[in-house]
Every structure is written in C-alpha cells, then in structure tokens.
Amino acid sequence: MDELEKIEGNERVYSLNLGPQHPSTHGVLRILLDLDGEYIVKADPVIGYGHRGHEKMGENRQYKQFLPNTSRMDYLSGMLYNHGFVLAVEKLAGIKVPERAKYIRVIASELNRISSHLLWFGTYLLDLGGITPFLYAFDDREQILDILDAISGSRLTYSYCRFGGVSRDVDMKFIEMTRAFLKRMEARWVDYEDLVTKNVIFIHRTRDVGVISLELARQYGVTGPNLRACGVAFDVRRSEPYEVYDRFDFEIPTGSKGDALDRYVVRFREMQQSCRIIDQALEHLPEGEIMTPKVPQKLSPPKGEVYTAFESARGLTAYYLVSDGSPGPYRCHIRVPSFGNLNVLNDVLPGTLVADAIAILGSVDLVIPEIDR
C-alpha cells in the first residue's frame, strides 16, 4: 500500500471517465477512475443523472397515484416494487388482503424476480464479452413478460397490485403458461450451466474478482444476493416473512467468498428457488376474491408511520411512509438496495484492472435509476 501512495500524485496516474455513456454502466452511471496503466487507483462513482424526485412526487400525490411511480424506480423488478408499496400502504391503513390475491402477488413477484435475474444474467455475460447467453436469457425472459403481460397488461411497469388485492384475476391459461415456463426452464438451467457456469473462461474471469468481505458488506449495508454471496443467509422473505412466504419451502442460496463467481452462483440458484416457490404457490392457489371490497377510492390512512421491507431482486428494499391522515403521505422515503451495493464499490474497485471493474460492476447487479430515484 505504501507504494501505492507513492505513485499517487505523479504523472503516472491518469483519469478515465467510465460513463455516463458506456456500454457497461447499465444506465447513466459515471465512474471517475484514476488509472495507473490498466490498474485502478481510485474509483469515484458519480450518480444522479437519472434523478426524478420520486420521493418528492410521493409527498405531492395520493397513495394510489404514487403506485405507478414505484415500478419506475427499478424498472426491472417493477412488480416487486409495486408489491412492496401496496404492502406498506396496506399496513399503514390496516387493509386485509384476500388469500388468493396474496398467492397471485407472490407468483407474479417471483416471476418478476426471475425475469430480473435473467436480464442480469444476460447483461453480465454481455459485460464479460459473451453475447449469445444474453439472447438466450432474453428469450426466456420473454416468456415471463408474456405471462405477466397476460395478467397485468404491460410488460415492464406493471402497476398490477392494488391496495387490498390485485387488479385482474388469473385464469387457467395463466396457470398453464406458468407451468409450461417452469418446465421449460428445467432444461434451460442445464444449458446455462454448460454454456456459462462451467466455462473455464467465465470461471477465470469471475473467481476471486471483486471480493466483498462480510465486514465490508455490513459497513456499507450491502444486501440481497451480494450479501448472501458472502455467506449470510439473510433474506427478507425469511427474516420478516410478508404475504405467504412463510408457507413455502425454499432455500436461501449462499456463497462463501463473496467474489463475483459467488454472486453469480447465488443469483443463478435463486432463480431456481423462485421456480420452486412459484410451483408451490400454483399448487396451493386458493379460490376466492382477489380484491378486498371495502377499500375507499380516496385512501386516507390514520396518522403514523410504517417501514415496510421486502426483498426486491437486488436486496432489501423498504418504503418508509409517514402519514398525517391526508390522502397522500407526509414523507415517502425509499430505501434502495443498489445504493449500498454501488457504494461498496468505492472500496472494492481500487487495485483491480479495468476489465475486472466491468466484471465487478456487472456482478453486483445495479439498476441506476433505482439509486437515483
């Protein structure tokens, strides 16, 4: 390290602007890199290019009007964000949700989680230079989007959940489609393992790259698959089960070292676990209402606050809503997982190669608009 300091401040170090427009920054992220040759001496992520003021919008809107905003924060797991928001508001207003709606929400959320992970899988391989897995993953993701399109009517920003239920009931066709998808994925996992997981080049590119130690992860508040890759089985679906997650039998995959390969494996196995959850939920999907009948159009929850955490595709996400009794929140704060996941890169990137930096950046699965909010 002392040698590193010696090199700083002389003409060897030059800076490189990675982004805001770069093929691998996934959105408008800019990282100011100080490089020595191809080694990174210092990394300073610059964010905020996609800041839209969702929190301020939340304060100026009614609860239901803010719902469409939520899926635009993390557009890759819009269903999960919708889901979390309705959970928060239901908790705040004390609305009960019918069982069927709970199951449907879980199925839709898990499908969305798989689609988000599949997109990450594809783009991560794209970052590493493999183009074909990206298109295979998108092929699979397309199936999920079709399923979600069939129930919600849109493919990315769903606005499917409602306070007290969901907006549309599912039919047999949906169940068939989902089952067919689960069956299809069985064969695909094998293909992906052959094509990517076992690939010697891939393993060499990711093993021991971008190690986030458990202590570092804790310091920065890293959550989600990135944390689980460090060996902690921390998942909001398990630690504070919401909806009906406590009724399902699923594992929380963990890694050991916290390197990029572990993060990859954890996400990969998480997709398989999500499939298991969906399978069980389809099995036990009850009949009945999908909407609580007594939810007023203009919802005015009582005074108070609620902090509702849920597991989005990227980690622990939480809505912090403070109500003053009016139809809109007094304060609407969103805790986003990518914030900590990007922040930790301040410590992880220095000392790595530019090529590694791309591999690390891809492996933590950032969605920049989620950070910018």
């Binding site: 809107r61 239901k64 009007q65 803010f66 719902l67 469409p68 905003n69 635009r72 074909t132 295979y136 092929d139 397309e142 079709d146 399109d149 069939a150 129930i151 919600s152 009517g153 849109s154 920003t157 606005s159 907006s167 549309r168 293909d191 052959d194 094509l195 990517v196 076992k198 690939n199 010697v200 080049i201 159009q297």
Partner: protein, 159 residues
Amino acid sequence: MGYFKDIFNGGLSLIEGMGVTARRLFRPLVTVQYPRKKIPLSSAYRGHIELKIFGESGTHKCIVCLNCEKTCPSGVIRVQGEKLKEKGPKTLTSYVIDFSRCSLCGLCVEICPTSTLKYSREYELVGETWADCKIDLLARLARQVEEMEAEKKTQGIAA
C-alpha cells in the same frame, strides 16, 4: 499433472459450451420479422385509453365529471364539456390525452363512474413531434363509429 488436467478440463468445458450453441443452430427461430408478422396481443393489453362505444346509444357515456382528469397523476387528460340544456348533464365537447406523459397506471379507467373509458389495443404509436402524442379521443370515437357503420353496411350487403 494438475497443469495438464486444468488444460484438459478447461478445453472440455469450452467444447461443452460450443455444443450448446451448435444445437441452437438447428432449432427454430424465436423472433418474428416485426412489420411483416405480428404477435397476437395479450387479452389484458393496455394501450392508451379510449372511449367505449355502447351498443344501445352508439356512443360514449361520458358525463364530464372530471374524475379522470383529477385522478390522473401525470396530468394527461384534458376534458371539456358544455351545458347544452339549461337543466341536465354536461355534454362532452373535447377529450384530449397527451400520451407522451401517460404512465398507463389505469387510475382513470378504474375511477370512471360510467365505465366509459377502456384501454385501446393500439401499440404502433410512433410520433415525430409532441403534437403527434396528443390524441383526440372524440375524433377517434367518431372514426370508430364510422368504421363500425361501414362494416355493418358491408355485412348487410353480404347478407
């Protein structure tokens, strides 16, 4: 010997990967040539909103209550109505949406007391100017009514 084993296993994994791509070479394609071939829309598809045509009256049922305009989070909808008679409901004179700002949340459809709003099945919505994104729903309705009548006529002739 670990050296040669690594090389061998590495090579094997590469060949396995090539096997996966090679198999795909002979599978049917999954994409379609879009403008020539179109995929059927899902039944739930939500395009921009439009006014529903009710069979008995052959027109919409908008009562200009302005609920949709008020509930829209993005200020998409502009509704204007006039009182044609001294007593009685207002009549819709203009219903324009600015689709470029719409977030397709569907609040307007849900809140409409007469259920006269519905999602269209329009998805080819390219525009070159902001003005192209402004959709006059009344004009659209008139067009649709005309088309329906024309269709009825041809059907009548055929019958």
